[in-house]
């Protein structure tokens, strides 16, 4: 049993970074992720970590420095949010293409314009096809646990990982969390032995060579396979984490889903709010349940399909809209995953919480009521709905 303390999501992420004690952290500050690096810089100046800390002049530079560092075989981390992640975008693809196990602590925040500092998932959803593993956290405890696991996952899958928390709601909200003793974190993540490094004089290698029509496709095919295989690696790491620290994580969490007739699919902090509503509805005899996606990349579509196959009415909650006119990205992927089921469930989409709009209990209740309405009438009135927006 670790130490119980009250920490904000940012403090929890910074604490995990202290315990991981990465070789290199290169970062540039941005609200609401600034604190993570600020607290970590404090650990550095207090001599609590051995990390080479690089304060860069932009997020693009921060991730570029991380790429150089990881390529030379150093365990490397950074933190960012929102526009910062967008400015990293070019380098995100390079990190994953070079198969560098960098870990980002990401705080979800809306993208400009209009400018806003509050939570939605547009930033990481915009990076969903960049070849990074994406792990979403419901609360500070999950953020802490996920960040520790991310190091192992990245190094075994040889893919970079971003672990996210909801801006302000979790990043600046203080909650009770259990901190694992330093030695046990160290034991769990183990020593990093890079498979390839530019600094190995015995085995010189080239990284970043040009790939034309003759090889590019093959290398992408490998990356696709690595992402598929990452699923098993995430499960393995989570199992070991559970056996050591008694907190069980999977690709997603099922909450009262076994016999559910109505299910919500959600990512991040709203999952916790949905649990409260599910409990209330269950007391009233309504068979409500929740599927909370933890790992969005790789997208565990077979497992989600098997889990949701027998649930006739499903609402997928997206904290970002793809601006494609077909709703949010989670909706599109869940709906696609369910296409091959003969008894295809009814699936509708709710865009919610953009720019930090509070998603209250009555909003969630409304979604379940809408699902019950579809059950009664057999009719879907709104395929894509906007929860909590003023008409």
């Amino acid at each position: 049993m670790g130490k119980i303390s009250a920490k904000t999501g940012n403090e929890a992420m910074a604490e995990a970074m202290r315990q991981i004690n990465p070789d290199v952290v290169a970062a540039y500050p941005i609200t609401p992720a600034t604190e993570i690096v600020q607290i970590f810089a404090g650990f550095k100046s207090d001599g609590l970590v051995d990390t080479e800390f690089i304060a860069t002049e932009s997020e693009h530079s921060a991730l570029s420095a991380c790429i150089g560092s990881a390529a030379s075989g150093a365990r490397t981390m950074t933190a960012t949010a929102s526009q910062g992640l967008v400015l990293m975008q070019e380098m995100l693809y390079i990190a994953s293409g070079l198969r560098l196990p960098i870990v980002i602590a990401e705080v979800n925040r809306a993208l400009s314009s209009p400018i806003n500092i509050h939570c939605d998932h547009s930033d990481t959803m915009g990076a969903r096809d960049s070849g990074w593993i994406q792990i979403y956290s419901e609360n500070a405890q999950e953020a802490y646990d996920n960040l520790i696991q991310a190091v192992r996952i990245a190094e075994s899958a040889l893919l970079p990982v971003m672990v996210t928390i909801d801006g302000f709601i979790i990043s600046h909200g203080m909650e009770r969390i259990e901190i694992i003793p330093d030695e046990e974190v160290k034991g769990f993540i183990g020593e990093y032995r890079p498979r390839y490094t530019l600094l190995d004089e015995e085995r010189s290698i080239t990284m970043g060579a040009i790939d034309f029509t003759d090889y590019f496709f093959e290398h992408k095919r490998q990356q696709i396979e690595a992402m598929k295989e990452a699923k098993e690696k995430i499960i393995e790491v989570s199992k070991e984490f559970n056996s050591r620290f008694k907190r069980d994580y999977g690709l997603f969490e099922c909450y009262r889903l076994e016999d559910a007739r109505y299910a919500l699919v959600v990512l991040g902090s709203t999952g916790g709010t949905v649990k409260v509503v599910v409990d209330e509805l269950r007391e009233d005899g309504v068979k409500a349940g929740l599927l909370k996606v933890r790992v969005f990349r790789p997208f565990p579509w077979q497992e989600i399909k098997d889990t949701l196959a027998y649930i006739p009415f499903i609402a997928v909650m997206d904290r970002s809209d793809g601006l494609s006119s077909l709703g949010g990205p989670v909706f599109q992927e869940i709906r696609s995953a369910l296409y091959d089921i003969d008894s295809r469930p009814k699936v509708i989409n709710y865009i919610y919480g953009l720019g930090g709009r509070d998603t209250k209990l009555h909003h969630i209740k409304q979604v379940f009521q809408d699902l019950q309405g579809i059950d009664r009438t057999g009719r879907i009135d709104g395929l894509i709905n906007y929860l909590g927006v003023r008409e």
Partner: protein
């Protein structure tokens, strides 16, 4: 080049090249559209071309230019440009 192109399962990940000095296997001579012709009579062996050639394609022996290695010479013309104006020992001609 007679290298057999490998399938994705056989290739090193991330586009890495797992050995050093592999540029020697890459014969850039095929890129050439202009070809440098070196004149043994005019050459004063000042070695300016040898210093400037980006592909180390100027062949040397005993600090004397011997000719051009057309396997690697990509025809950039830097050697012809840098050869002293009074000497002009290298002339670029159409590749055919």
């Amino acid at each position: 080049m007679s290298l057999k192109t490998k399938g994705w399962r056989e290739l090193p990940i991330g586009g890495l090249i797992l050995e050093g000095g592999t540029s020697e296997m890459y014969k850039t001579g095929g890129w050439r559209s202009l070809k440098p012709i070196w004149s043994e009579e005019k050459c004063t062996h000042c070695l300016t071309c040898w210093i400037y050639c980006p592909d180390s394609a100027i062949l040397l022996s005993d600090e004397k230019v011997q000719g051009i290695n057309y396997d690697y010479c990509k025809g950039c013309g830097i050697c012809a440009k840098e050869c002293p104006t009074k000497v002009k020992a290298i002339e670029m001609v159409e590749e055919r």
